[in-house]
């Protein structure tokens, strides 16, 4: 237990250092931006007739630091606000805090990514086992090639092909934004709207990512099947169904790490799917904020995407210590 906590603490410290580096990076980026956005907003506010003090205060609220100050005081102020989870104010949506904006789009992305990832994990694992069991037949070879291909093809190719054929040719789903007027809750209209908007993106997501799980599961199963203890179990007359469970449990273990890691990357990795399906998630938000040069929103979104990866990394490692007795109980404990 002590070992577990020490390990966790080490990860958390390293994660915090990384988050600090990323925040510094976004700070420098905003400062270095061609035609300094801070300066630009300040000038704009002045030209709208604000007093210099008012304008300064307004800019400080948006970006987390006061223009014209020394770089260090600006940096200090910026970090101080971040420590209070204050990411500044959105420029696009006037007056709304970036934290609120980011969290509300994160909600959409997490729903999509969770559904898509679980779906693809399930398919990938099952097909991977089949590909491994039948690896010397056409079925196995075919599955491997399809897996590599789907794994290799970028998401936008999959998404665009799906959108074009299903929406245009068959009019199956609507791709407009989710209707904001519907009352969220357990009413039929709301659920129907979610299904028609979220199912296709989730399927596209699953289609473009299950290949990776298929390939990993296949190679994992093949390697476990070659392990000595499988033959040993056969020689002890262990029932095939039990041996199958031995293989499955040993083979799936490394995949949980992959799963946890990919969940982290996918908060920011659904960009193309969201774009192709008009889905209001983190990726769409990041693109929109870049398009409209809303720097505070952009840094906020990027920071959250990075944090998701860092947290997923920690979870993946900790997960391993929980499910693998070799790590959990230590060598010769």
């Amino acid at each position: 237990m002590l070992k577990f906590l020490r390990r966790l603490a080490g990860h958390v410290v390293r994660g915090l250092v990384m988050i600090w580096i990323v925040t510094t990076f976004t700070f420098v980026l905003v400062r270095l931006m061609p035609g300094d956005p801070v300066e630009t907003q300040y000038e704009t506010l002045l030209s709208k007739g604000m007093s210099p003090d008012q304008a300064k205060a307004q800019v400080a609220v948006t970006y987390g630091f006061v223009p014209h100050g020394s770089v260090w005081s600006q940096y200090g102020h910026y970090l101080w606000q971040l420590l209070h989870f204050d990411l500044g104010k959105s420029v696009r949506a006037q007056g709304v805090s970036v934290t609120t904006e980011v969290l509300s789009s994160a909600k959409w992305t997490i729903g999509l990514v969770l559904a898509g990832t679980l779906l693809s994990f399930l398919f990938g694992v099952v097909l991977g086992v089949i590909a491994a069991m039948r690896r010397n037949s056409h079925v196995g070879n075919g599955l491997s090639i399809v897996g590599s291909l789907l794994h290799g093809v970028p998401q936008y190719v999959m998404a665009l092909i799906l959108v074009t054929f299903l929406t245009v040719k068959f009019k199956l789903f609507s791709t407009g934004p989710v209707d904001g007027l519907l009352e969220p809750g357990l009413n039929g209209a709301y659920i129907a709207s979610i299904v028609s908007h979220a199912v296709l993106p989730a399927v596209a997501f699953a289609l473009s990512s299950f290949g990776g799980y298929l390939l990993s599961m296949k190679s994992s199963v093949v390697s476990v099947l070659g392990d000595d203890f499988i033959l040993a179990s056969e020689l002890r007359g262990i029932r095939p169904s039990i041996i199958f469970r031995y293989v499955a449990r040993n083979a799936i273990l490394p995949l949980f790490t992959v799963l946890a890691l990919s969940l982290g990357f996918m908060v920011g990795g659904a960009v193309f799917i969201e774009n192709a399906f008009n889905y209001p998630g983190m990726g769409a938000m990041l693109i929109a904020s870049i398009g409209q040069r809303d720097y505070s929103e952009m840094s906020g979104a990027f920071l959250l995407i990075t944090m998701a990866v860092i947290i997923a990394n920690i979870c993946a490692d900790m997960l391993y210590t929980v499910i693998d007795p070799r790590v959990r109980r230590g060598e010769g404990a």
Partner: protein
Amino acid sequence: MSTTVEVPVVKPVVPARRTKFLTNLWKVLRRKPSRMIGAFIVALFVVMGVIGPWLYPDNLPKSADLLAGPSLSHLLGTDFEGADVLAELVIGSRYVLTAAAVAALVTVVVGVAVGLYAGYRRGRPDSALMRITDFVLTIPGFPLLLVLTTVWKFDSALQMGLVLGLTGWGGLARSVRSQTLSLRERGFVEAARGLGLSTPHIVSRELLPNIAPYVAMNLLIGVTTFIYSQVGLFYLGVLPYNSTNWGVMIQLAVNNGVTQTGAGLSYLMAPLVAILLLTLGVVLLVDAMDEVFNPRLRED
């Protein structure tokens, strides 16, 4: 009690030389027709990127027939301005492939240098370099590229390749390091030291040739990711369209309502299918390379 009759068989350690690698690759390629197809597809794309654009004039003639389907005069149809889609596809391949090649070069130089140094020196330099590598690997690459588009315009393929390479070397450094470590474990380095060979000699003559095939394989996969990333950036429309490339084609097709109306389908599909085809080629070729490096995978 250990009166063993086992005769120890010492496997001779033969460094895989490049020529041997190429002949092996050829042998393995010929074993399955699918692999030859893969090699052919990849070669086709390279030729297309290198000499293709010379075949077309700088300003493409415009046909009056907008967003037309495939026909004899326009094999892949026309775009919303009436330009030939095939011509655009070929011209557009240059930026994409050049940037990917530059990115690959940067990745190899940085990745191999970091990985080799870390694996060869071990200890402190190793852990320091691996921390940096972990950092590069953790930062989500594509969102980072998106953010960077606010600072750089990526007018030249060179610039694009440089940024792609500098954000993408982490994985290669990791695997080169573990390869180097495993070569060390097999006694390569100690044996060479024992023979009185210098460090540059050991690195360039003993380690590099053994790592090279592995790097080549990773690179092939890497190149496809670089292509996807840059096409993706242009497709999302966060970069100005001042050159013809596949991403711009996709973006313009979507903006001109191809996904909504279906008119000019071949305009949208041409770059998408090109990417699919290239992926297929690389997948098939990697299957062959895999077998060269892991003879265990060979089917009896």
